[in-house]
Symmetry: C2
Subunit: 100 residues, 2 copies
Amino acid sequence: MVMNPIGNLNKIFESRIRLGVMSMLMVNEEISFNDLKEMLEVTDGNLASHLSTLEENGYLKVHKGFIGRKTNTTYSITKNGEKAFKSHLAALEAMIRFNQ
Amino acid sequence: MVMNPIGNLNKIFESRIRLGVMSMLMVNEEISFNDLKEMLEVTDGNLASHLSTLEENGYLKVHKGFIGRKTNTTYSITKNGEKAFKSHLAALEAMIRFNQ
């Protein structure tokens, strides 16, 4: 039986925007909502809904802070998030190798 | 400006099942509905809807044939499909490198 090329892909990471958020969180201790929005070129609403799905799944943490009197919400990856995203990347690499 | 890690990802390939279908079509001249269903471990309805989206986007062709008196529908990748999927795989590889 040939291996299922999409065997270990994680359904939660099926969206480009979530892939983008996790990629950014893997290489930044913490990152603000606005930086994510600018970097991934997405709308507020779209980004907010993906962030809450990732949070509900325990893949990122939210920090509500202030800069002066302005609220500054930042996000950081959790241990679970890092583990899940690394195995998703490995599954993507296996799929890419399947195609070579 | 750091590169957008999801810059060139193709929205059409955001679903694991479509990734699986394209992977199978890249390494098989032609493949039947049942082989795809078994390999990707998906339901008829789910597979059928993803196949029609890929067909509408010109990424695969459908062949209605018969085995004896039984209909045998097979699928094959188009030039456009191959080109689009290869650039999606390259964009995924770039995102994976972004994470290393």
